[in-house]
């Protein structure tokens, strides 16, 4: 696939502070790309540079082979859906959606045709004469989406598109967005702090921290094979065991962990040498809980006692205390319907996982 958006060495400094620090990024045409990070990580600044609201301190942005780094916002093949939606309060739905075409001096009947099309796409045909104040949050969001899409941009930027919606609506809107993206084939760049949103929406994710990308990859890669401690901890929850590498080969290592009380084995690629201190990391859902010591060969088993637990309906969360005092989080599916509890406080249990489930994180 050809790189559609090419970002090279992009930086934005506010005084001494580098909000975005030498970022390189390639996004393919038709991709739904998410930039994920906490507040203040620079993701919004990056998006605003793509939209043209911030002038980069250094670096270039190319879209479809054209350098747009220094073009004003109104002269870019890019449109943006704002987090606040920024629906014009003094215009009705129809006028809001038509605004971009009016500014481009598109002919009147052409505008009408395309507005009708957009209204149908976002299912607001019955609301065309309503003012924004008469719309719900979800409807306003769809006005903002239609208004940005009607100009047929090469890239649509979405700033926290689902943050202002309630849970049920988010889930629905998420799939609507994906369908629309699929239908129109426009490249979407989504900025979000919500990892779940990023995971379900996007084909690829860039995890950002302190103005830099820590990892760029598919949701699966980022979740299952986090590159470093930050990514591992930012996306989902993860248990880490401080360990000293005793033996290492190309596709795995053995490391003794005082916290775990045993030697841990991890399969998979890693960058550690014998003698290094690393974190062996395991996600809570990869760990099994049993009352008896598992007999399967090759699994990692550690004894512990139940410190606390929480019932979440579809699954339960357990906090298991090891002999060293280390607390390990375990998430287990509630496959069987039962009112009696499988485990109680201070029950003795065995934790176990496959060596392939563990990730080696090098500092």
């Amino acid at each position: 696939m050809k790189d559609f958006i090419r970002i090279r060495g992009l930086s934005k400094h506010f005084g001494d502070f580098a909000a975005v620090d030498r970022v390189d990024l390639d996004i393919a045409a038709g991709e739904l790309f998410a930039i994920l990070g906490g507040s203040g990580c620079g993701k919004t600044t990056l998006l605003r540079m793509l939209a043209g609201f911030e002038v980069p301190t250094a670096g270039t942005i190319e879209i479809d082979g054209v350098d747009i780094t220094h073009r004003p916002p109104y002269d870019r093949p890019v449109n943006m859906m704002f987090q606040s939606y920024a629906v014009f309060p003094h215009m009705n739905v129809e006028k809001n959606i038509a605004y971009g075409l009016r500014k481009d001096k598109v002919a009147g009947n052409e505008i009408n045709r395309r507005v009708d099309e957009m209204l149908k796409l976002v299912q607001l045909s019955d609301f065309r004469n309503r003012k924004p104040e008469q719309l719900s949050g979800g409807q306003r969001q769809r006005v903002a989406l239609a208004r940005a899409l009607i100009k047929q941009p090469k890239v649509l930027l979405l700033d926290e598109p689902l943050a202002a919606l309630d849970k049920k609506l988010r889930e629905r809107t998420q799939f609507e967005l994906m369908n629309i993206q699929d239908e129109l084939g426009i490249t979407f760049v989504v900025v979000t702090h919500d990892q779940e949103e990023a995971m379900t929406l996007s084909s690829r994710i860039a995890v950002m921290n302190r103005g830099r990308f820590r990892q760029v990859g598919t949701p699966k890669e980022v979740y299952e094979f986090p590159k470093d401690r930050f990514v591992a901890e930012f996306i989902g929850t993860i248990n880490t065991f401080r360990s000293e590498v005793k033996a290492a080969s190309d596709d795995g290592l053995e490391a003794f962990s005082e916290e775990a009380g045993i030697t841990l084995i991890a399969h998979g690629e890693h960058a550690a040498k014998v003698g290094d201190t690393v974190d062996i990391a395991v996600r809570p859902e990869k760990i099994f809980l049993d009352k008896e010591k598992p007999t399967d060969s090759g699994v990692i088993c550690i004894p512990g006692v139940v410190d606390d637990f929480g019932y979440l309906g579809n699954r339960s969360l357990y906090r298991v205390r090891l002999e060293s005092g280390k607390i390990v989080q375990v998430s287990s599916q509630n496959r069987r319907r039962s009112v009696t509890r499988f485990l109680e406080w201070e029950d003795e249990v065995w934790l176990s996982w496959q060596p392939a489930s563990a990730v080696v994180l090098v500092d």
Partner: protein, 297 residues
Amino acid sequence: MAATASNDQVWRRVAVAVPYLWLLVFFLAPFAIILKISLADPVIAQPPFTPTFDESGDLSVSADNFRFLLTDKLYAITYARSVIMAGAATLLCLALGFPMAYGIARANAATRNLLLLLIVLPFWISFLLRVYAWMGLMNNYGVINNVLMWLGVIDHPLQLMYTDFAIFVGLAYSYLPFMILPLYASLERMDMDLVEAAQDLGASRTRAFWDITWPLAKPGVIAGCLLVFIPAMGEYVIPYLLGGPESLLIGRVLFDEFFVNRDWPLASAVAIVLLLLLVVPIVLLQRYQARSQEEAT
């Protein structure tokens, strides 16, 4: 429960009734008295006008004063001059006040409070003193003339004081805060994302201003213009102190009729016409606003 509910209602009524009563006593009643006087004839007596009912108890009113106002060109010209002067001052306040209000609304929180304080600060000094200060500035040997002569721009003083220009400057200066504050209130509420969204959709900065900022600031613009125009129309102190003898404005005529000529009925008629001149545009404006609101829904 029922008792508390009705108690609440009583208090709610009291809360609403008090300001209405206030307006009734201190606005409507004086207005009725002025209206009554305007329909009387002047006499040299105490009070200096004929009673509404003569000795036999018959109603004795005449529209002579209003007729006189309409026939004597002086009054028509004075009203027109006042409208033009107040209108020009209002426009200057708008032109100066809009960028100031915009700047304040976009400043960060700490600076914003300081800037707002600076706008309100002149109110801590007596209005009269501030107008006197302008006399010191605009005198033939005042600060402005001295500086201009020192710079060599002019070789003899400009006549600034006692001109319409001085009144214009004085009005614009005095009423500027009344323009800035409502403008600030409406601009501060505005989401900056809206302007960026307009630019994102293809509007230049200027276009985005006229499409988004201006219409959304309109309530503030209207409120500010009314707050400047109405008092500027009836202003007496500024024309009296800064204007020349030939700078006839309606506030001054009103004062002269009351206290120099002691023609209370005519003065009252002048006041009634002034009120009508102010009320009519406000009512029209409110109608327009109500209609545009209806269109919106």
